[in-house]
Structures are given as C-alpha cells and as structure tokens.
Symmetry: C2
Subunit: 283 residues, 2 copies
C-alpha cells in the first residue's frame, strides 16, 4: 500500500511518461531547455513537501516546500501547477479524497497560506499573465515582496485563486471542486492499456475539452483555441487508436512551435493521483 | 541540495530513463511483462527504505524496507540488485561517499543484516542461480525460512555476499569496494550530453567490460559472453555516436530474445547515485 505522498509523486512521474502528450515533454520528447530528466528530478524533489501535506501541514507551507524541492533541478518550472492541485488533494486524502472534502480544504486556506504561496514564486519562474491594474501589488511574480500587500488586504489563498479565474484553469479547479481532475480520474480508470497510454488518452481528451490557459497566457487565445480544436478533431476520430501518426504529427508540430499545454498536463497529473489513491488504476 | 535518499531514488529513475540500454526497459522500450511504469513505481516505493539508510538504520533493515516498498508494484522485481548497491552507498554517504567508507559499511554488516536480506526475498521473485550443494539451506529463494540456518551458521551479510562471487556481479561490488560503481560514476561525469544519453553510454561500456551475471544465470555463460562481445564491438566503433541504428538494432534484438542484462543496469544506477552525490553530474 503506497502512501498518499508516494502516490502524488508517482502521479507526477506517470504524467511526464505518458506519450504522446502533444506539446509537452513526454517519454518520447524533450523540449529545447526542458528535458525528461528535469521532470524526474522535479518529482523526486517535491516529495518532501508532499509528505508534509500528508502529515497535515498547512496547504501553503507544504506547497512552498514542494516547490522549493521541485526547483532543485536545472529545468526551472516543471510541476508548479500540478503541485498546486496535488498538495490540497493529498491534504484531503488524510480524511477522504472526495470533491466535497477537497473543496473544504481549499476553502479553509488562510492569509498565511497565501503568503506561503507567494513565497513559492521566489524559487521558480512561472508563466503567468499580467494582473489587473488594481491588483498590481499582488502580482505573483513579485514573490515574497508581495506578502505584505497580501497581509494588508487580508486575502486567503482561496481568495487569490478566485481572483485568478478566468485565465488560469488550475485556479479554476480550486473554485470548482476539482471537477476536471476527478473527471480525469474516472476517464483514466475507463481507458485501456498501460498507464502511459491511458495518460495520453486522457490528456488529449482534456485538451479537446477546454483551451489550455498556459497556451493562452504564453501565446494568445486564438492559438489556445486552435490547439483545442485540433485535439477535438483527433479525439472525434479516435486517432490514438485509428491514426496514431496523426497524433504524433500534432505533437511534433506543437513542440516545434513551442506551444506547451502545461495546464492540461497539470490536471492530468491530478487525475492520476486521484485514480491511484482510489485504486481505480494500479501499477 | 538534494538529500542522499532523493539522489538514490533519482538514480533509479535516471537509470531506467537512459536509452538505448540494450535488453532492458528504457525510455523507449517496455518488455512484455515489465514496463517503464513499474520501474517508476519501484523507485517511488523504495524511497522510504532509502530514507532509513540515510537516517543511519542498519543496512539489512533499510534494504528490507526498500525492497518491500519497491515490490508494491505489479512488475515484480524491478530494482533488487540496484538497491543492494544503493543502500550501503547511501549509508556510506552519511560519513563520506568514498570507496574505503563504502567498503567499511559492508564489512561491518552483521548476522542480523543477513537475516533481513533473506526476509527481503519474501517480497519479490529474484532471478538467482542454484546454490552449491553444501549451501542448500542458505538458498535465498527460501526467504525468511532460511533465517534460522543463517543464524546457526553465524554468517554476516558480507559473508553471504562473499559466497555469491563469482556468479553475481552485484555481490562482487560488495567485496571489491564498489570498484565498477565508482568507475561508472567517473565515466558518467566524463560523458557528454543529457543524463539519459550519458546513462546509455556508460551502460554500454559496462556491458562491454564484463559478461552480465544475470544473463549468465537466466541463460548461460555463452549468451552472456556473446552479448558482451557485441557490446564491445559497438563501443570500439563508438557506435552511439557514429551508428546509433546499430545500437538500436542490438537493443531490439536482445528484447526480442528476452535477454536482460540487469546486473549491468544495477551498476549503472549505483554509478548515477555516486555521480549525483559528488555533484559530478547535475540535473
């Protein structure tokens, strides 16, 4: 019986191993500056923070530790978004890994959790959008320099996440009861074959469902929409089964254009954790 | 700064990710019953035992825990031999990860360590040769049933390893001061490129150096010799650089014939740990 922290680390590893995962590092593909080995080291480094969450530490402090550990590799940000989903889910698994409990965990976050979240940005360079003008002092890229503004405004981590929707589908999971993450877990259980294949199937189905918010942030809405439309066509044609070369070509094209649907990968990792924890998938 | 236990887990992950690694599961290849995901789960599961070793537990108890954790995946034995090298090396790293300290760690093992080593076989099915007739009661496949015989004979784990050489090159590392493991670490540092490429280079050089004892046990000496000769030709031709297709063809051939040079992979993992710990390679 694997511990929750071990399952969360394994979810990160299975996510990066899933292939083809168009636009992302996978078992077959490296990006120019971001390689498979950076994700392996990121997952290993995150373990200590995940253990803290499993032991009942606050979401913010466990997350900050997980990010500090994840960032002890040379690829910079590998799993920031995934850990922002996994840490509260590991915390929920202490009681019961259900949507209501996960929702309660994030709703109960404090101003202290928000401050720890901001400090986590000191460890790593994360792709985020500009904040609205009236929230300039809360720009996450200011890292720990924004902590006093957070404390003055008295914002909890949940409230920070509320302010990040729309535009960030990791934050959206926080305010919508981890709906897509639990959905991904069900799809992983229903899919066939080795977990690396199932991960690819579910990743593509999530990508077809909603435009990836990291792609929208780094490129634009139109690009994110185009990627989702192409994923949708591949899913409609059951291309992973009937025309795998078309999915591989899509994957190669996104890598060449530097289009990286990282938010979709984050939700895939969260789904893997839930499915492992519920023993809906086994390895 | 990554802990020793984290570096040891990462070494297991980098080892399986290295490709091409002829005959073994790698980033590109699965075997019929043994897949990449089993190795990911094996590495994650071993972490707790590796932490025990880093915290100063005895070699035997840390090893037994590492194997029990490694075995919580469905591929059966993935990293038994690698952990038999990593656990004493992690223990040595508490003081100094040098050949003399590693040698002292294994020489100081006790009868209790030997008993724990035998109990580890209860968790997993390991490919080993028949013992000599006068050592039938010490057959490791008897697992914990052999513990009373061990205790009666008063054999330490080091003495068990001495009796396993020749025929087991993991045991040989124990009695020869981890010579090939430290050599592999130096070669990893001298090689070029991403760590997954360096791992492939060093694996092939180790395979060319000595016939793999797992291949000799599962098949025969002639097969092990043939594999080493072919690896030697590829190394002499610098084939990973000049003719990668030849190495890929060798890898595919070994997988098809079910020839799995697992001992060479174990020593590669030990070399990765030493090189990570010495910061001779970074990720």
């Amino acid at each position: 019986m694997r511990s929750s922290a071990a399952n969360a680390e394994l979810a990160l590893l299975l996510e990066v191993a899933g292939t083809p995962k168009p636009g992302n590092v996978d078992r077959q593909r490296d990006l120019a500056e971001l390689r498979f080995e950076h994700f392996l080291a990121g997952a290993v480094g995150a373990r200590e923070g995940l253990e803290l969450a499993a032991d009942g530490a606050s979401v913010g402090s466990a997350f900050e530790q997980a990010i500090a550990g994840m960032a002890t590799q040379e690829g910079d940000n590998t799993q920031f978004g995934a850990l922002l989903l996994l840490v509260p889910l590991v915390r929920a698994a202490r009681e019961d890994l259900s949507q209501p409990v996960a929702e309660a965990v994030v709703r109960e976050t404090t101003v202290g959790d928000a401050a720890a979240f901001y400090r986590a940005f000191d460890h790593v360079d994360v792709g985020v959008a500009d904040p609205p003008a009236d929230m300039d002092d809360l720009d996450v890229r200011r890292g720990s320099d924004a902590v006093s503004a957070i404390e003055e405004r008295g914002l909890t981590l949940y409230e920070i996440m509320e302010r990040s929707v729309p535009g960030d589908d990791v934050a959206r999971e926080w305010v919508q009861g981890f709906d897509r993450s639990f959905g991904a877990a069900r799809r992983l259980a229903d899919a066939d074959g080795p977990l690396t294949d199932r991960t690819a199937t579910v990743f593509l189905s999530l990508l077809a469902e909603r435009p990836d918010t990291l792609v929208a942030t780094r490129h634009d809405e139109a690009t994110a929409r185009e990627v989702t439309d192409r994923a949708g066509e591949l899913v409609a044609a059951d291309a992973l089964e009937t025309d795998p070369a078309a999915v591989e070509a899509f994957a190669d094209d996104l890598v060449e254009r530097g289009i990286n649907p990282g938010t979709t990968a984050d939700i895939t990792a969260a789904g893997l954790f839930i499915a492992l924890e519920h023993e809906a998938i086994t390895v």
